[in-house]
Amino acid sequence: MESNKITQNQYFFIICASLIGVGILSLPADLCNAAQQNGWISVIISTSYPIFIVITASIIDNKTNHASYLVISNKIYGKVLTYIFTLIFFSYFLTILSGVTSGYANVLMETITLFLHPIYIIIPTLILIIYASLHGLKTVGRICEFYFYITLPLLILSFVLIGRGTFINVSPLKFSFDIIKATPDTFYAFSGCEICYFIISKITNKSNTKKAGIIAVLLISLIYLINVFMVIYNLGWELTSKLEVPLLYLIQTIEVPIISNFLSIVMFLWSFIVFKCILTYQYTCSDIISNLFKIDYKKANFVLFAIALIYIYFMIPEYKRRELIGFLMPCFVVFSFLWALITTILVSIKFRGVKNEVS
């Protein structure tokens, strides 16, 4: 298999990796601010967005006979619009990459590396990610697959606290407009799965990409749901809404013999989740730079390093990161939604009658 090809399984794991970064740590707080004890219901509603994305990606891929993103976009929108749209997607992924990296540095500085300047976290992280990304999509797929199994127990760790919480914290259960209002907050956590538009054409054994994408989204949604629910169930919405990273606060309460701070082990494993998340965006952004500006993929990785470093630097204090993300993310999500909708319609019209060949 070429270094730029993946299996359908690896596609599944890349989608999973792109959906979980640092957003899950602070999500319960954002949801509780808007929808109080019913915040967890917003997660269920928000699932519709990533499902829409993976379904449209699969439709576009099937209708266009597995052509690459740029080929499809050029045929539908022409060169100028393709250039603009691709740059918007690039900015979108770069924002997530920078947001996750800076968020990770911020969380790390508050937990296990209090002594380190953020730059000493950001630069090694980016170098490490470049090292992994340089080897192409195949390695990205393998890393996502390998670490998925290793970190899965961590993702459902909060479930062990089910005996400690109380249903009073999630009562009364009522469907209000606040739940809908809280839904956009979840979009940041769920954003990023748009990378499927860029990688779906690189799957070698396409048997059912739609199913693989939907299962990945549902699985991650379930993980989000468990975590958000367990935080509210254990801490109550008032405390949750006042904390910056309520999930870590909850995990910190787990007592393990010998280890006086269980959080350090959690952060140890959480780092792998963050690395694979950043890696998926590093690959996609570098691939976009490489294809758009016709430069070598390896060089594109280093170009991205310089751009990302500057961008991350502006996101270093947590409040700046939140401001920037809060402002940009809704715009990107709206763009991505509209692009997916319009492209799917146009592809269905323009590529009607094209025989679908399995490559």
Binding site: Q10, L108, I112, T113, L116, I121, F146, I258
Partner: protein, 487 residues
């Protein structure tokens, strides 16, 4: 270029062969006069030939047993070789290069006047060491015998254990100057043709003047020479080779080297041993768990200890940190240098013990390990807790069954230790992640090194960190299985 061949002139033939054979003092030419005054010469290189064979099976019958007028025969050499020379391996040749090559292998050459052919008799000396017990790969229930320095005995050891029509042995000559004989061994019906062709191509393209053993050879075969991880497996045991051949792998033997290399390999098999299969299921799995645990300990225990001392003391329970602080009182060295110093001293002992005879090596271990350690504590150079941590690391390295992999893992712990010193816990995370990324990119002849984990091969997981009962295990793992289309 024209091939040099023998002529009807005996003296000229001797000169031609001598010119193509090293003019050493031990190159012998024995003149004989056979029945009816026929001149004859026996050529051999003293020291690498079996003189008894030459005397009893060549010279004696030629001088005293010929009772027929051989001058009347048209194919004199065939008749003599069939009737008078009682050596099992005989070849008749007129090619001077071939004759010269065989002389260097310990064979003897018989020349007769007015004949443009020579009889090459295999009289090579087999004074190599006899099959002995394993010294490096010792096992409790496994086979005790090991390979020797002589390739033909080694091939025989494999053939004796693997009586199968599909066992194929290909002959190679490696090294332009030393012309080592090598053998590529595989099971024709099991090996993936793509892998086999890669091995053949690698062997055919080795350009070196000197290739004495498997350690050299594996470096010519490895794709990533800068990787610390071994990409071929070295073994001294024929039963390991047989087991691997039956898993669809290939083995290479080199004459003069008592080890075989097995290829392709995956990371996990360096942590598996014969006892994993011969022991009861639960015990075998417990052993595997211990090995994986030892791997984690070797890589992380010293760096974690360093980070806890240097940066994150709050993560250690108060009762434990008290003990550590008391033990470190008045230690002048910072924790990093203290650990590094001890680790380097351990490496000195390891390397020193390796070069010394076994008895002195043991003494060195005792002097170094116990006396030096005790003295270092009493002198206030290192703390007892540091010594415990380093000792645990050293003991854990002995759990890894493969020597090459154990060296690689030892080396990597320095990398993680240095990263931990600079970046704390984050450094350990970065180092471990980078090692895994490196492992994911490694391939042994196209086989992913981290298989069956990356890419995930569910069927092979039955024999990975845990082992299923033997009846559920596939003899040929999916990783090495013959791929469809590669016929």
């Amino acid at each position: 270029m024209d091939t040099l061949v023998l002529t009807k002139n005996l003296n000229k033939n001797i000169n031609l062969i001598s010119a193509n054979t090293p003019s050493n003092f031990n190159f012998k030419i024995r003149d004989l006069i056979l029945k009816d005054n026929i001149k004859c010469n026996v050529l051999y290189i003293n020291g690498i030939t079996n003189k008894e064979d030459i005397e009893d099976r060549i010279i004696y019958p030629l001088l005293f047993k010929i009772d027929y007028d051989i001058n009347t025969l048209s194919s004199k050499m065939d008749y003599i070789s069939q009737k008078y020379i009682s050596i099992d391996d005989i070849e008749i040749s007129s090619d001077i290069k071939n004759i010269s090559k065989n002389l260097k292998c310990g064979k003897s050459v018989v020349l007769i006047e007015n004949e443009d052919k020579a009889i090459i008799c295999n009289t090579s000396k087999s004074n190599f060491k006899s099959v002995s017990e394993a010294k490096i790969e010792e096992s409790i229930r496994g086979e005790k015998s090991t390979f020797v320095d002589f390739i033909e005995i080694n091939i025989g050891l494999i053939q004796e254990k693997l009586k199968n029509d599909n066992l194929k042995i290909e002959n190679y000559i490696l090294g332009n100057k030393n012309n080592s004989q090598a053998a590529l061994i595989y099971m024709e019906d099991l090996i993936d043709l793509k892998v086999l062709n890669k091995i053949r191509s690698k062997l055919n393209n080795i350009k070196t003047s000197y290739l004495p053993g498997t350690g050299y050879l594996s470096q010519f075969i490895d794709k990533s020479n800068f990787s610390v991880f071994p990409q071929t497996k070295t073994t001294e045991k024929p039963d390991t080779v047989v087991s691997d051949l039956l898993q669809g792998k290939a083995a290479i033997l080199i004459n003069g080297c008592a080890y075989a290399i097995i290829l392709p390999v995956v990371f996990l098999e360096f942590f598996q041993a014969y006892e994993d299969y011969s022991n009861r299921l639960l015990l075998a799995n417990f052993d595997r768990f211990i090995r994986i645990l030892s791997l984690i300990l070797i890589l992380t225990i010293s760096p974690i200890y360093l980070v806890l001392l240097q940066y994150n003391a709050e993560l250690v329970p108060i009762n434990l940190i008290k003990i550590i602080i008391i033990s470190r009182k008045d230690i002048p060295l910072p924790p990093f240098l203290e650990i590094l110093l001890m680790e380097i001293i351990i490496e000195f002992l390891r390397e020193g013990g390796l070069r010394l005879p076994s008895i002195i090596g043991q003494t060195l271990g005792i002097v170094g390990g116990i006396i030096l350690g005790q003295a270092a504590i009493q002198a206030g150079m290192v703390s007892p807790t540091t010594l415990i941590v380093v000792t645990i690391t050293v003991i854990a390295t002995f759990v890894i069954p493969n020597y090459e992999m154990s060296l690689s893992i030892r080396f990597l712990r320095f990398y993680i230790l240095i990263m931990a010193q600079f970046l704390g816990f984050f450094g350990i995370i970065v180092a471990l992640f980078s090692i895994v990324v490196h492992l994911m990119n490694l391939e042994s002849l196209g086989v992913p090194y981290l298989s069956p984990f990356a890419p995930m091969r569910q069927k092979d997981l039955k024999d990975s960190i845990i082992r299923y009962p033997l009846k559920y295990l596939a003899r040929v793992p999916a990783t090495f299985r013959k791929k469809k289309g590669n016929k």
